[in-house]
Symmetry: C2
C-alpha cells in the first residue's frame, strides 16, 4: 500500500491512498483524515486502507485525484518523534579517517542516534530555505521508517513488527555549524534544520523481497543539478538494521505512534557507486588529493533523491528540491 | 489565565480552564478541544479562554469540575518540539569543576541546548517508570515555556512575544547513561527518558512582575521523600533568558506552535538554597568531601516540585511523582 499527505491548507494535511504507479490518489477521510490518525489507529484502519489501495490499482475507484500534480506535504507534516541513526558505520569511519580521528570500537555495536526536529518536516518539492550559504548546506539521503506505538525495552526482533511505513528522506545538514555543536556534546540542533520526505510512504509488503530483516536492499539515487552523486545500496553495509535502531530509541521509554526513525546517510564501503551526501564526497577528495574540491550546495542548486524497484519504477516518488535563501517574513 | 489537560481516554486529552486557586476547572471544547488546538489558533481563542477564566474566578460558571481530583495529563500530552537548554551556566560550571574539567568560555555566550523526546511527556502525578535503578535516576527541576509559531532567525527580544504559556517541569535523567552518550557527541537520547509537567500552565500576565524579560523570579522547590533538596530562585543566575533560548532554537528553521523550551536545571551560584537535582548535590559533596554521599533515586522514592507566588499559593500545582519499576507489557 502507498500513502501520502496532500495539502488542504491545514497543518496536518489530508491523507490519500496512492496507486502503485504514483499517478492517481484517492481521499480516505471516511477511514482516516490524516496520516497521524491512521497511525494512531493502525490496527483498525489498515485493512480498509488496503482495500481502497487494491480497488485503486484495479481502476475500480472513480473519484480520483491526479497525483502527479498534487501538492504533497511530508507524509506526517508534523510528528512527535524524529530519531536519526548513523547505521552505515562505514560512512562514519570514512569521515573520521579524513580528519585523522580514530573510530571508537563501540561504534560498531552501539548505534549513534540523535533526536531531530519533528516539527521541521517539509514536502518532497518544497524549497530548502536557509538563511546563509556559508553554513555549508548539504543533503543526506536516507531510508526512514514510521512506527506505531512501541513499548520501552523492546527487542530488535520484536521492534521489526512495529514498522508500519517506509520511505526515503533528505536530512538537510549545515556542515559548517556541526563542529561547534558536536564539541558541546549536546548533539545536533541548529546544524540539522529541515528534513524532507519523499511524496509517498509504503507498507513493507510493497517492497517484496527487497525488504529483509529491517533492511531495504535497493540503491538510493542522489542527483545534484542533474549529475548523479551516488547510488549506494541501502541494504549493504547497514551495520544496524531498523529493528536495532528502534530498540535503541525505545530502550528507556516508549515511542508514540508516528515515530520516524532514520537510517543515517546511506553508504557502502569504499563508496564504489558514489555517495549520499557532499560531506562524504569531500572526505574522499581529502583522502585522495589532500583537500576537498566539491563545494557544498548553493542557492539555486537542485537535489533529487529517488529509489526505484527492479523494473526501474519509482517506489516513493522523487524528492526534488531547490535550495533557496530563507527570507524573513 | 491557567490551563490544563485532563484525561478523557484520548491521546491528546481535553483542555480545561482552571481557576486561580487550582480548585475548579471547566471544559472549553466549544472554544478549543485540546491544548494543541488552542496553541495552533492562539490569536483566535485566547480572548474567549480568558473570558471563561474570569468568569470561573468570579464564580460565574456553574458546570465545573473538581480540579483537585481530576486526572491531569501533561498540558500538551504529545508535542512536536521539546528543546531543553542549560541556561544556568553556574550549574554546568559546578558539574565540570567536580570532575576537574574546564568550562569553555563560549558556554557563557552560546547556549547549550538538546532536543528531547516530545512524545514522552507525562502528567504531574504519573509514576516515573524506569526499568533499571542502576541507570542513576535523577530529577531536574526546571521552568519551561510553550510558544506559538516562531519564524526562523528571530531575535531574542522578538522571541519573548511568542511565549504563550509558562510552567515547571521535571526533566528525568539517567545519570549513569549520560557519560557514554555525551562521549558520542550526538547528545542525550536514552539518558533523558520522560519529562513530567506540572498540572497547570499559565499565561505570562498571571505571574505579574515576577515574570521579567524572559525570566521567572521565584524560588523553585524540589522535595525528595519529604525533605527539601533546594529552592533556588529561577530568576537569579539564569545566563540565557527564554528569549535567547527560543532565538537559539529557531536560528536555522522555524518552530511550530506548541514548541516547549526548557531552562535546564535551575541553580544559583554557590547553591546557597540547595539544588534542583541530585547530580548537583553530589558534585557539591565531591568538592567538599572528595566523594558523593547522596544516592540517586530508587524505586519507591517520591519527588515533589512546586513554585509558589508571594502569598505562598501554588502557581502551577505540584509535580508529585513516585519512582517505579517499568514493567514490560
Amino acid at each position: 500500500m502507498k500513502l501520502a499527505t496532500i495539502n488542504n491548507n491545514t497543518r496536518d494535511g489530508k491523507l490519500v491512498v496512492v496507486n502503485k504507479e504514483l499517478t492517481k490518489a484517492v481521499e480516505v477521510s471516511q477511514i482516516a483524515p490524516t496520516m497521524q490518525f491512521a497511525l494512531d489507529n493502525w490496527a483498525k484502519v489498515e485493512k480498509d486502507l488496503k482495500s481502497v489501495y487494491e480497488n485503486l490499482n484495479s481502476n475500480n475507484v472513480t473519484d480520483t485525484i491526479d497525483f502527479g500534480t498534487a501538492k504533497v506535504l511530508a507524509p506526517i507534516p508534523r510528528a512527535y518523534h524524529w530519531a536519526d541513526g548513523s547505521a552505515y558505520v562505514t560512512h562514519v569511519e570514512l569521515v573520521r579517517k579524513a580528519r585523522n580521528a580514530e573510530l571508537p570500537e563501540s561504534f560498531w555495536t552501539d548505534p549513534l542516534m540523535y533526536m531531530g526536529a519533528s516539527d521541521a518536516f517539509i514536502g518532497a518539492n518544497d524549497a530548502i530555505e536557509i538563511e546563509n550559504e556559508d553554513w555549508g548546506i548539504d543533503f543526506e539521503s536516507e531510508v526512514a521508517v514510521i512506527t506505531d506505538d512501541v513499548p520501552a525495552g523492546i527487542s530488535p526482533k520484536e521492534a521489526l513488527n512495529h514498522i508500519k511505513l517506509i520511505t526515503i528522506v533528505n536530512d538537510v545538514s549545515l556542515r559548517n555549524l556541526i563542529p561547534n555543536e558536536l564539541s558541546k556534546q549536546f548533539g545536533f540542533y541548529q546544524s540539522k534544520p529541515w528534513t524532507s520526505f519523499a511524496p509517498v510512504v509504503v507498507t513493507p509488503d510493497e517492497l517484496t523481497d527487497k525488504w529483509q530483516s529491517g533492511k531495504l536492499n535497493l540503491p538510493l539515487y542522489s542527483t545534484l543539478n542533474g549529475k548523479l552523486v551516488g547510488s549506494p545500496n541501502a541494504g549493504v553495509d547497514m551495520t544496524f538494521d531498523f529493528g536495532q535502531l528502534i530498540a535503541h530509541a525505545a530502550k528507556t521509554r516508549s515511542l508514540m505512534a508516528g515515530a520516524v526513525i532514520g537510517s543515517g546517510t546511506v553508504a557502502n564501503q569504499g563508496s564504489p557507486t558514489g555517495s549520499s551526501c557532499i560531506a562524504e564526497v569531500r572526505c574522499l577528495e581529502i583522502l585522495k588529493d589532500g583537500k576537498p574540491s566539491t563545494p557544498f550546495m548553493k542557492f539555486g542548486d537542485r537535489i533529487e533523491i529517488e529509489m526505484k524497484d527492479i523494473k526501474g519504477e519509482s517506489i516513493f516518488g522523487k524528492i526534488n528540491q531547490l535550495v533557496k535563501k530563507y527570507e524573513h517574513k
